[in-house]
Symmetry: C2
Subunit: 116 residues, 2 copies
């Protein structure tokens, strides 16, 4: 058993938010996806992002708004957003007081198909 915590993770600024890549944890190389904590301070947004990897963003704290292709989706804690390959996205934290924390997992579509 290993425990990973967004509140004790080492974070660094990337994409206009704070990122805690799971490569900081030993023993996670064999996960079938990359993973990172994303911490978005109150009244902040991520920079626009777009990448070939499919992404599953799980909201573990706070309240997110995702903008994708002109569509806005509200995602409170306990929900998850699945983004397709090359789907451009921006994440907003519109709370004035509370931080927003996501666990983002991502993988290349080819890898997913190989894993069958």
């Amino acid at each position: 058993m290993q425990k990973f915590s967004s509140s004790t993770a080492s974070l660094s600024p990337e994409y206009g938010i704070e990122i805690g890549r799971w490569t900081q944890y030993s023993g996670t190389d064999y996960l079938p996806f990359g993973a990172m904590w994303c911490v978005i301070p109150p009244n902040s947004s991520s920079q626009p992002d777009q990448h070939p990897e499919i992404e599953l963003a799980v909201v573990v704290e706070g309240d997110a708004d995702f903008d994708v292709a002109g569509r806005r989706e509200h995602a409170p804690a306990g929900s998850a957003i699945l983004l397709g390959s090359e789907e451009g996205h921006v994440v907003h934290n519109r709370s004035a007081d509370d931080r927003l924390v996501l666990l983002s997992m991502y993988w290349l579509p080819e890898g997913a198909r190989d894993a069958g």
Copy 2:
């Protein structure tokens, strides 16, 4: 963009708790892991579970205690527990008032290796 929510998912009793398998969502076949919401009511525990799949349990609401091989790990919302293949585990929700919600993801070690 697709959104999945633990609060609107269809749940059914399994392992002594409520389970919402992601097979209920269309378009999730290509994920490189299986996934399910696990909802554990106040003052309840899961039945002991053990399986060949590696499991990553992300706490998205409430407060969990994991028991593995005589060791107890406290996992509040915003933390994640990685369980090895065949590592027996029990999850407790010791709150008298609040439900506990996990997103559990699982995959066979072989699949993970194939996915490289």
